[in-house]
Every structure is written in structure tokens, then in C-alpha cells.
């Protein structure tokens, strides 16, 4: 019996009266990067929201190190080691960069490690140190995304969930973000990555799932999916070269 970091079993989630997630099962192993792909409205964001406790499933289980999550509130989910960077970043724009980072280390267990976490954040995201006292809302899109991720890792998470981190960013920032995710993973952070940028995501992902209208239609290793002709056709386009 494998011991997965995160296990989702037979999840059904409703958005009001509409079912957004149908019988979804997946798992995330420690130390890996798992990509969750699919078109807009496929249910990826709903899935992340359910894991982090913002939404609750109608049916099914979510297990973290074997322990069920579904009854927990979002702030409790953060406490046990899952950090969620939501779609659109959603920083505290009226607060400064430093204040955002301080709030990242809000759970009591993270506060003794605050100084170290801050150092780590600055070393991974040097641009933030320069903008320390600026209001978060005044940062550029790419810098905001970095702040959002930095804030999330201030909580020393075991599992970092990112919802479309590359959305709306310039190619330079997109590259930087993916390099960052790779670096974080190298530092033993497990990553669950929801992305529309399929090519880049599959390049760094160990495992990947494809969601379509709320159901998992494909699953496998990153390389497998990258080579899969259907994936190529649907998401990457006809012209594609192996790097």
C-alpha cells in the first residue's frame, strides 16, 4: 500500500446546483510535481478549492498523509501543511510586501521559523527584497505572482498548490516562474500545479492528470503525456518539437 502525500478519492463537488467535479480520484506523492491540466471550466480550480477547504465535497474523500481533510476549514488546512495560491494571486494589495510575507507566516507553528523563511523567500525572489516596503498592489503582474508564491511558502508547506501561476505573465516571467517551481521542488516542496501552459507544465511535472468537464480523462507521467498525440493536438498544437 503506497503512502501518498495527498490522495483524492471519488470526489464529487457541486457549485451551487451545478456539478463541477465528477468522481475524481488522483494522488500526489511526496517530493514530486504533479500537474493538473485542462481547459477553462474543467473543474481544476474547484478541485483545488475543495482540497484547501474553501469548498466542500458532496461525496468522496481527501486524505493528507492518510488523514481525512474534508471537514477542515481553510485556515486549518494551512496549519497542517497545505498552502494554496489561488487563481489571480489575490494578494493583500493595500498591505506592503513585507506585511504580506509576515501574514504568510501566520500559523503559530511557522512563527518561530519566520526569520529563516523570510531569508529563503528573499533568496528565491530577490526582487521582493527591493520592494519590501511598497504596497503589494503597486507591483507588476509578475512580481505579484512571485509575492503570492513567496507568501505561500512562508507557511513552510509540505504541499504547495498553485492555480495558474503563469496566467497573464510575460514570457520572461513565465520562464522565471517555472524555474522557481522547479527550484522549490528541489528544496523538497511537493507541488500540485494547475496550468493552462501545458507544454511548460509537462516539462517539469513528474505526474500529470487531464481534467475535462469535471472528470479525469488522462493520467500518467509528465513525459508520457508530453509524447501523447492527443495531448499534443488538443493543447499544444500541431507543430511541436522535443527539447
Amino acid at each position: 500500500m503506497e503512502n501518498h502525500l495527498l490522495e483524492v478519492k471519488g470526489l464529487d463537488v457541486l457549485y451551487g446546483d451545478v456539478q463541477a467535479v465528477w468522481d475524481v480520484s488522483l494522488h500526489v506523492d511526496e517530493g514530486t510535481i504533479v500537474a493538473l491540466l485542462g481547459a477553462n471550466g474543467a473543474g481544476k480550480t474547484t478541485l483545488l478549492k475543495t482540497i484547501s477547504g474553501i469548498m466542500h465535497p458532496k461525496r468522496g474523500e481527501i486524505l493528507f498523509w492518510g488523514k481525512p481533510l474534508s471537514k477542515l476549514k481553510p485556515q486549518e488546512v494551512v496549519d497542517i501543511g497545505i498552502s494554496h495560491v489561488p487563481e489571480g494571486r489575490r494578494l493583500f494589495s493595500k498591505l506592503t510586501v513585507l506585511e504580506n510575507l509576515k501574514l504568510g507566516a501566520y500559523p503559530p507553528r511557522t512563527r518561530p521559523l519566520f526569520a529563516q523563511s523570510l531569508e529563503r523567500a528573499y533568496s528565491l525572489f530577490p526582487v521582493l527584497k527591493a520592494r519590501n516596503d511598497q504596497k503589494a498592489g503597486s507591483l507588476s503582474g509578475g512580481e505579484q505572482q512571485m509575492l503570492a508564491i513567496a507568501r505561500a511558502i512562508m507557511a513552510c508547506p509540505n504541499l504547495l498548490m498553485l492555480d495558474e501561476p503563469s496566467l497573464g505573465l510575460s514570457p520572461l516571467f513565465v520562464k522565471a516562474i517555472f524555474e522557481l517551481i522547479y527550484a522549490l521542488n528541489h528544496q523538497k516542496v511537493t507541488v500540485l500545479l494547475v496550468e493552462q501552459n501545458v507544454h511548460q507544465a509537462l516539462k517539469i511535472a513528474h505526474q500529470a492528470y487531464v481534467l475535462k468537464t469535471g472528470k479525469i480523462v488522462m493520467g500518467g507521467s509528465g513525459d508520457e503525456l508530453l509524447a501523447d498525440p492527443e495531448v499534443q493536438k488538443a493543447y499544444i498544437g500541431e507543430r511541436w518539437s522535443k527539447r
Binding site: V78, P86, F92, L95, K102, L103
Partner: protein, 297 residues
């Protein structure tokens, strides 16, 4: 000669307005905190202020506790009362989408407390008379009542205190963050109940300070509460929600408007002017008059 008189009069009116306006401002800061985190218009703020004014009054009348000294008792009572209000009344309602529910609970509380006070303590106006309540300074011929000056002092000190709390403490930062985006706040581990209770506690704590101010300045009665709440709302609109000093300035501005209007126009019209200003500001500068940056709704 005549010009000198009217100039002095204008100054007096301005001074009156500023001195009393700070009480509206304090109430407004409380409202702002509560609205910021819970999106509730706590209409019972004024009635709570009067209730705490009564507490101050009875401490003085029955036990001889000097009103300003009673701060030591009243403020902790208010803070606890605030937290109590939240846990007993608003906890579940704050999470609901329909904000009417919270609004109605606040209204229910207002009815309840206002009439409880009327039944138990009668509708007769009360005032506190001590050695210093009739003390008036007269610099350059302007009347500055001692009690109003102290009220101003209390207002400025408590506003600064609240601001320090919001800026320098982690929980204060959490309140600010939650006011901006509650869902994101939960995603960093902030508990909504914790910040809501803190916001409520501070809101009522400020009501306690305003209550002492009111008790020492005016005769007051249970019905005054609702009117006071409306004035606090107007001050909040003028100052902008989420802006601590702004709310205080908003109160002062309202005090000025009232003072001038009630001198030049007869009684009822000054109220109408206040409401008209309220509407105009709501419509054309909803973020308040004292905020430099534009807030997006």
C-alpha cells in the same frame, strides 16, 4: 466692532463643531472596523454608546467613580462586550451571503437595548456633574469647555492607538488583510472568527470611549442612540471606510457642518443638510473625502 464679533462667533462655531465631532469620529472608526471585516452596518453602535454612557453615569452616581477614571473599567467592559456581541449574535450571520440578516440582528439589538434602558432607567435625560464639568477655558474669548477638550484628546489618543494596533501587531495586520479579502486571509491561515471578534471588540471598545465623552458633555437619553448611529454613518461616509484618521476627520467635518448649519438655519434643516451631504458624498466620492488613492469597489 460688528465684524470682530461675528468673526469670533464663527471661530466659536468651528471650535464647537470640531470638539464634538470627534465623538462621531470615534463611533465611525468602530463602524468601519466592523464593516471592513464582516460587511455589516452595525446600526446599534449609537445605542451601545448610550448604554456605556449609562454605565459611566451609574459608576459615578452610585460609587462616585470619576468619569475619566472609569475609563479603566469601561474600556475592558466594552472590549468584552464587543467580543460577546460577536460570539453570541453575529458569528453565524457573518458567514451568510444575505447581509440583511446581520443588519436585522443589529436592528433587533438596537430595539432591545434602547427599550431595556428606557424601561429600567426611564427616558429622563441624565447628565454628569462634577467639579470640572462646567469648567470652561477662554483663550482669546473663545469658549472651550474642559470636557469637550478632554473628549478630543481621548478621541485622538484612541484613534492613534487603534492605528498602531492595526499597523504594528500581527493580529492587526490580519484584520486589515481580512477586511480586504477574507477568503485569501483564510488561505494564509487567518481565522475569520478571530479577526471578526477582534474588530467587534475594538469597535465596541471605541463605543465605550465615546460613551464616556457623551456622558460628560451632554445630557443623554436612550433614544439619542439611533440618531448618534446615523451621525456615525455619515462621518464614516465622509471619511471613507477603512481609513482610521479619515473616519475621525469625517466626524469632525460633520461636527463642523452641524455646528454651522444649526446656527444659520433652524433646527431641523441642519439635519437635512447633514443627510444631503451624506448622499452627495456617497454618490460622488464613495471612497470618502480624505483618501488620496482611489479605491476600486
Amino acid at each position: 466692532m460688528l465684524e470682530y464679533l461675528s468673526f469670533g462667533l464663527i471661530i466659536q462655531l468651528l471650535v464647537n463643531g470640531i470638539l464634538f465631532g470627534t465623538m462621531y469620529g470615534i463611533a465611525a472608526i468602530g463602524l468601519s472596523l466592523i464593516f471592513g471585516t464582516m460587511r455589516i452596518i452595525f446600526l446599534a453602535q449609537g445605542t451601545t454608546i448610550i448604554f456605556l454612557a449609562y454605565i459611566c453615569y451609574w459608576l459615578f452616581t452610585l460609587f462616585g467613580v470619576d468619569p475619566y477614571l472609569s475609563l479603566i473599567l469601561v474600556v475592558p467592559i466594552s472590549l468584552l462586550l464587543g467580543a460577546g456581541f460577536y460570539h453570541a449574535l453575529f458569528k453565524e450571520a457573518a458567514a451568510l451571503e444575505d447581509k440583511n440578516i446581520s443588519l436585522l440582528i443589529a436592528v433587533g439589538l438596537m430595539f432591545l437595548v434602547e427599550n431595556l434602558m428606557t424601561v429600567i432607567w426611564t427616558a429622563n435625560p441624565r447628565s454628569i456633574l462634577t467639579t470640572y464639568t462646567s469648567l470652561v477655558f477662554r483663550p482669546m474669548g473663545i469658549n472651550i469647555p474642559f470636557t469637550r477638550l478632554i473628549a478630543l484628546l481621548m478621541a485622538v489618543l484612541s484613534a492613534s492607538g487603534v492605528l498602531l494596533f492595526l499597523k504594528k501587531t500581527l493580529i492587526g495586520m490580519a484584520v486589515r488583510a481580512a477586511s480586504e479579502d477574507m477568503v485569501s486571509a483564510t488561505l494564509v491561515g487567518i481565522s475569520p472568527h478571530r479577526v471578526n471578534a477582534v474588530a467587534f471588540a475594538i469597535g465596541i471598545g471605541l463605543a465605550g470611549i465615546a460613551g464616556i465623552g457623551v456622558a460628560t458633555i451632554y445630557p443623554f437619553d436612550p433614544v439619542y442612540g439611533f440618531i448618534f448611529a446615523l451621525k456615525a454613518l455619515i462621518s464614516l461616509a465622509l471619511g471613507g471606510i477603512g481609513n482610521v484618521y479619515g473616519a475621525l476627520l469625517g466626524g469632525i467635518l460633520l461636527g463642523l457642518i452641524e455646528s454651522l448649519a444649526s446656527f444659520f438655519l433652524s433646527g431641523g434643516w441642519s439635519d437635512a443638510i447633514s443627510y444631503a451631504v451624506f448622499l452627495i458624498v456617497l454618490m460622488f466620492r464613495p471612497e470618502g473625502l480624505f483618501v488620496r488613492a482611489m479605491l476600486k469597489t
